[in-house]
Symmetry: C3
Subunit: 329 residues, 3 copies
């Protein structure tokens, strides 16, 4: 779209590791790899301001007259409604397209053509698509900013950013903390992206998983190369007493070829009040949701259970990103 000075967006370039003084205006949000520590701090600063705004006045008019189109080629009510709420609480408008895979706009049409079609009406595009690299493809042909809301086995960078912001809001710091990631560390893109972002800070990482679901070796290597201390274990109990953050993920039955393998590990990483009794008094328990039975409902009332607040932090982070790429923060 062309209104409100967004023509400047035509000159956008995706800068990986942009210098401190780089404005986010017109930038795409495609990968956690594009963010420097300074970028993260800038995003958190704006997200804190968004939190204050929402808590005091509910919504603001920062993006009045701007239009976001959310194109979801696979269903994700959670992510879609979070982006919608973020845009609406900034005073902007949303066109939410779901079931894109079956729509006439998609039939026999390239993703590139569809994105350029939607761009004709929009100031910013949010894309969820099952193919890795799809958001980058969309970004290459469009002039307006594209935000990757999950490209299949690729990335879901706004999830990683909201996870980071949750830690920042709950603990007030990153440096010197110990983060334990628990469960399926092999397939979960969430933990891959989060661990990469954590390398910007002085964080010790404990990876707790069954042998079959260990974090891929090349990622562990990447983290160590970046100077991070990474410990791997299958034993939750050993990390419980000193973890500042407990990041729990779901172990999916579908990941196991042999059901008896699943039966063995199932139940090893379930957080209940008993387990929480052995965690630090000021630990932060997170989960990317949806949960099934990895965290029992009895834990919900524990003040350390941050997973519902985590969803709210996601709203502030997405508000921050939208305002920033549209040049308003």
């Amino acid at each position: 779209m062309t209104g409100n000075g967004d023509k400047q967006a035509q000159a956008k370039t995706v800068r990986l590791g942009a210098p401190a003084d780089t404005s986010f205006r017109g930038r795409d949000i495609l990968s956690v790899k594009q963010f420097s520590r300074t970028d993260l701090e800038r995003i958190f600063l704006v997200a804190r301001n968004m939190r204050t705004a929402v808590e005091t006045v509910g919504s603001i008019d920062l993006l009045k007259g701007r239009l976001l189109t959310a194109a979801f080629y696979e269903p994700s009510t959670r992510t879609s409604s979070s982006f919608q709420a973020a845009m609406k609480r900034l005073g902007g408008e949303v066109i939410a397209l779901s079931g894109m895979a079956y729509s006439s706009v998609a039939k026999g049409e390239t993703l590139e053509d569809t994105m350029r079609t939607l761009e004709a009406y929009s100031d910013v595009l949010v894309l969820r698509h099952p193919e890795k690299g799809s958001a980058a493809r969309a970004a290459r042909v469009t002039r307006c900013p594209v935000i990757n809301a999950g490209d299949g086995p690729g990335e879901h960078p706004t999830q990683a950013l909201l996870d980071m912001f949750t830690i920042e809001q709950e603990l007030g710091r990153f440096d010197g903390i110990r983060v334990a990631m628990v469960g399926d560390l092999r397939y979960g893109r969430t933990v891959h992206s989060l661990s990469r972002l954590l390398t910007h800070f002085d964080v010790t990482l404990d990876l707790v998983s069954p042998e079959l679901l260990r974090m891929p070796a090349h990622i562990v290597q990447e983290l160590r190369d970046a100077g991070m201390t990474v410990n791997e274990t299958a034993d939750l109990e050993s990390v419980l007493p000193h973890a500042d953050v407990l990041y729990c993920t779901r172990v999916q039955k579908e990941r196991f070829e042999d059901p008896s393998d699943y039966a063995k590990v199932k139940g090893a990483y379930i957080f209940d009040p008993d387990v929480m009794g052995r965690a630090k008094a000021d630990a932060v328990l997170m989960h990317p949701f949806p949960r099934v039975d990895e965290i029992t409902p009895a834990v919900d009332s524990d003040p350390r259970a941050a997973y519902f607040r985590q969803i709210e932090y996601g709203l502030y982070v997405r508000m921050a990103l939208l305002a920033m790429v549209l040049g308003q923060a």
Copy 2:
């Protein structure tokens, strides 16, 4: 959600039969049983103001910056779009979620978790769900108000409230009137809820149905216990001459095990110009819609046909409820 002073909603309690001075702020709308006569009169007063506002200026900014999330686990275009229009005409924003049953947010996730997820972005939740008690379950775990938009065989309280408001607007009074409910009185939750609300006034109720589709005995007893005069008959002609309100419902073929039973009653309760010729000159003909052939299109131009106005009254009632539970009326 936390903005705009809704923190007070954290202290919400669902009060059945709340006293006259109770504010609706932060209350859930779950069941017709929660409303006193004073509550009804207050809702109608606000709904009348909403009607005036819409007729004179179209929309107002009363709920600017507030966000409604409508979670529909079964399709109901009619109810969903009525709530959406109500929120939008109050200047508020809407996230409309349909097909929830098949979405990832719902897969393997409890209703409670989904509702707490949506609440993280929202100021008020509207829930349509096939299970009885679902709205009450949602209300138990959320801090923001929940409005029941139909919980399967349970209730659909806003439909009953709009039916009441239709009578109020069309006749100008409740006391002393005779209301005839016609058709399927056994399965229709609409007539069950409406008849309960009518007990707050001095109304005589005529129940007209085939034997197989009579109003459940326990509800008839409940109405009589509340002091209402209730007559049951299978003969529409006997009630036609003195009914102030004719509330027509659809007799669904699916309700009959034996098709010949359906064939027998089918056609007994069809409103056409001939039947309307024997109704009172100032009767009010209502229908919860959709209709199939219970009312012939030839009746549409009869000034007593109130069913399209009934839909419009629904807008005003939902506007009133939204403004009230969000503390703005």
Copy 3:
């Protein structure tokens, strides 16, 4: 809906070939046949103003408080999102209903009842429906304006208007130009409608298609009766050097009973840089989209490729029509 003076809409009449001084307020948009040359010029004037508004400030508040309901009985993300964006950029609100064919509102209910239901909340209705004449049926029973967004084999008048506006914006004139329509001229309602609108101007029309997909004879006759010079040919090369507008359409395999017939014509009308090398230097290449392989991506960077701008012009035309039928332009 009744707000904001739309009561005047009750007196609407669909005037085919309305005189120059006719306001569009309250009119339905059903068919290209309803527009005079003066109407077209008025629409383009308003659309130009809309373009300026969007390019300078993004959105305006002309339709603040007004509500559009878009009822799509068949999917069309492209058309639906264009109308949504148009209403939102005018400051208005939208209820977008998709999958209507499967919704409860539609089950066993006449289109007329559904439209009168939606009208109870809305200021303007946009209807997409697979049956010819459906929009006219809707318009007959509603008081608010109805815009036909495609009625199956019938018409899609806003597509034809945006095609016209594209020519106007790209070339600056209609009189004296040559327009070549290429591809499937038999089934494409787009080219039928556009050619009819072009008869209001001094345009020469070249129809380029395989024998099997020629423009229906009665339409060719209608165009000639209106005074237009119409040439028919199967040879694209013969029209390339002098066409001011090249309007390309897709030749669909499904149109051919015999696959060998398809194989014969497939590839005859493909626009690639080589073909474009033989077109006029200031030609305008258009396509109603989606494209499959009729235009190769290598042409996208050719400044004469107007098909993405065409989509943007569609936004301005729909903004103009909405503002006009709602009495604000």
